[in-house]
């Protein structure tokens, strides 16, 4: 019969072993996730890299895999980013500014806040349906860049508002108080002092929101972008295609070559996203130092 001290020691060792196992479990699961990501990316790269060359980037889609390329899709995506940025950034930042600086933070403000949080969680395909009903059919914009940009802007507007609000919140009150003390109105303070101070944070949030918009496929399918398009759009009312749509199109085909083309398209899309994210992080790091 062990002494109570020995039993206590046994017990402690057992519990510590359990803790060690638990730690190992958590660690391996986490690294499993990382390994999964690595597998996915390596897989995509291996599949697509052989198609990735200048010809791929400068050719239109074709029924022949060796001739096909992402030119119209890439240009369409770039058009979309620009138009979405023009539409959603002013409205989003203005809304955030208003909610943080100018509104009285009463009941109405609370309602708007809850409303925006809910809008952020609405599935993207619902935005697609709304875009179909309002922009394509209601306003008669048909399958144009304008319909696509407006629909996507609605989608990422809540994200921009939330991110901008977070950025504005981090601006120290001292800046505001200093401005008020010098006789500035709320609007002047907001425009000339708070906005510039929160600009980097807003920019980061905006870039991340835009990168989300680029990857969305479902809303674009709903507004009818799933067609064969072998030209570059020349204006906002033109028909278009985009990278995620082209990828989806190629993945849907049963031939192996088209799957590899899809992988190539994915690499291009991820490259665009990576660039945008890296820019956002770069800006954030550069300006965090400044504020310090």
């Amino acid at each position: 019969m062990k002494s109570s001290l020995a039993r206590a020691n046994d017990n402690i060792q057992k519990r510590h072993r359990k803790a060690g196992l638990f730690r190992l479990l958590c660690a391996s699961v986490t690294w499993l996730g990382a390994a999964l990501l690595a597998t996915l990316l390596i897989q995509v790269t291996l599949d697509g890299i052989k198609w990735l060359d200048l010809q791929f980037l400068t050719s239109f889609p074709s029924r022949f895999p060796y001739k096909a390329g992402v030119k119209s899709a890439l240009v369409g995506t770039l058009w979309l980013i620009t138009m979405i940025a023009f539409i959603s950034i002013p409205i989003g930042v203005a809304t955030a500014l208003y909610l943080e600086e100018l509104s009285s933070k009463g009941k109405v403000g609370k309602i708007i806040e809850v409303n925006i949080a809910n809008l952020a969680g609405v599935p993207s395909i619902v935005y697609g349906i709304i875009g179909l009903a309002i922009f394509v059919r209601g306003l008669g914009f048909e399958r144009s860049l304008l319909s696509g940009a407006l629909t996507m802007s609605l989608l990422i507007l809540p994200v921009i508002i939330i991110a901008s609000r977070e950025a504005i919140k981090t601006v120290p009150m001292s800046i505001r108080h200093a401005a008020y003390a010098l006789g500035a109105t709320k609007l002047q303070t907001a425009w000339a002092h708070v906005l510039p101070a929160s600009f980097p944070g807003i920019l980061t949030g905006v870039i991340l929101a835009l990168s989300r918009a680029i990857g969305e496929t479902a809303p674009l399918i709903m507004i009818g972008a799933l067609t064969y398009v072998a030209f570059l759009p020349e204006g906002p009312m033109d028909a278009f295609t985009a990278l995620p749509i082209q990828i989806f199109n190629w993945v849907s085909r049963p031939q192996q070559e088209f799957h590899e083309l899809a992988a190539g398209g994915i690499i291009v899309l991820l490259a665009v996203l990576l660039t945008m994210n890296a820019t956002a992080i770069f800006i954030r790091q550069k300006t965090e130092k400044k504020l310090q």
Partner: protein
């Protein structure tokens, strides 16, 4: 201005006029601009896509879009004036002709190629040698209780039969159901229905007990993944090939496929040029894609129809064309 300078100016101006007059004479050098919007059948899509791609090399400034809404869905848009050309794997229906009259939107019917609608099974399926039309009907009729291959024919394995086919917007669906089940649109609903024929190929190629149907081109492009089934229409089992479709031996599932063009769209130069190019290149591109070209006389007739803007359909009795139809001989009523 002195005389010398005047003469130089005049010469320059005359030269410019001459050059531009000369270049506008050669029609192929004329750079057209504009849009051509096409939608409709997924069966005809490979042809339209090929034509659009080749047309790009001739007229790079004309923007052609090709959608895949299905023959029925495409007609809805076509008759609302939203598209210029409708790809169709079946003739226009009476209902659609009525809509056309109501909306005041005319249509010109242009046959483009022959298709042997193919019934396919998985590569690993080694028990099906052929299927009769009666057996197809047994499998696909509304309310069909066929669940296993053994229900279709004695001696076949009791493997579960899984069905794949086009959806209700598809002309291929209309054609198959009318030919096999006797009424367009009459079909059992419990199958994987997808307007996208590519998805059907993917599904069938991975499913041992599967059975599906779609245009021949999708089989031809995936011969390594699928096995085509010989169909017995009463005269013995026939496998669809270029020869048997052309000769009419592959019956009753051989059919012409069409494009329908709006006469008012033909007022636009770019649409006119595109349609002419379509008919000219149809024999070559249809073959490339996997379909069967029509006799030359039919294409000539089609060209004439475009020239004269001859509207109307040869199938106004509502019956689906069988392979024995030689469209060149059919009388087209003048609307």
């Amino acid at each position: 201005m002195n005389t010398g300078k005047f003469i130089r100016c005049l010469t320059a101006t005359l030269l410019i006029f001459a050059v531009s007059a000369f270049s506008s004479l050669s029609a192929s050098a004329e750079r057209l601009r504009g849009t051509v919007s096409i939608d409709g059948s997924s069966t005809v899509f490979p042809i339209s896509e090929a034509v659009a791609e080749e047309f790009l090399t001739v007229q790079p400034r004309v923007r052609v879009t090709v959608g895949v809404s299905g023959t029925g869905g495409g007609f809805k848009k076509f008759l609302a004036g939203e598209t210029d050309i409708n790809d169709a794997s079946r003739p226009i229906k009476m209902k659609e002709v009525n809509t056309s009259n109501k909306n005041g939107v005319g249509f010109i019917e242009l046959p483009i190629a022959y298709d042997g609608l193919s019934v396919v099974v998985n590569r690993k399926n080694d028990w099906v040698d052929h299927l009769t039309v009666e057996e197809l009907n047994k499998i696909w009729q509304p309310g069909s209780l066929v669940k296993r291959w053994s229900d279709v024919r004695e001696g076949w394995p009791a493997k579960e039969i899984r069905l794949y086919g086009p959806g209700t917007d598809s002309g291929t669906f209309d054609y198959f159901t009318e030919t096999v089940n006797g009424k367009a649109g009459a079909s059992r609903p419990d199958y994987t229905a997808n307007e996208d024929d590519n998805a059907l190929v993917q599904g069938i190629s991975g499913d041992e007990g599967s059975l599906g149907y779609f245009g021949y081109a999708y089989y031809a492009a995936n011969k390594d993944k699928l096995r085509v089934v010989a169909v017995d229409g009463g005269k013995g089992p026939v496998v669809p090939t270029e020869v048997t479709i052309n000769s009419g031996a592959y019956a009753p599932l051989s059919r012409p496929v069409f494009i329908y063009v709006r006469p008012d769209a033909l007022d636009r130069k770019e649409v006119r040029a595109f349609v002419n190019f379509y008919i000219e290149s149809a024999p070559m591109l249809a073959t490339e894609v996997g379909y069967i070209p029509l006799p030359d006389s039919v294409y000539k007739r089609a060209m004439l129809r475009v020239e004269t803007r001859e509207m109307g359909t040869a199938y106004h009795d509502g019956a689906m064309p069988q392979s024995a139809d030689l469209l060149a001989d059919k009388e087209y009523p003048h609307e």
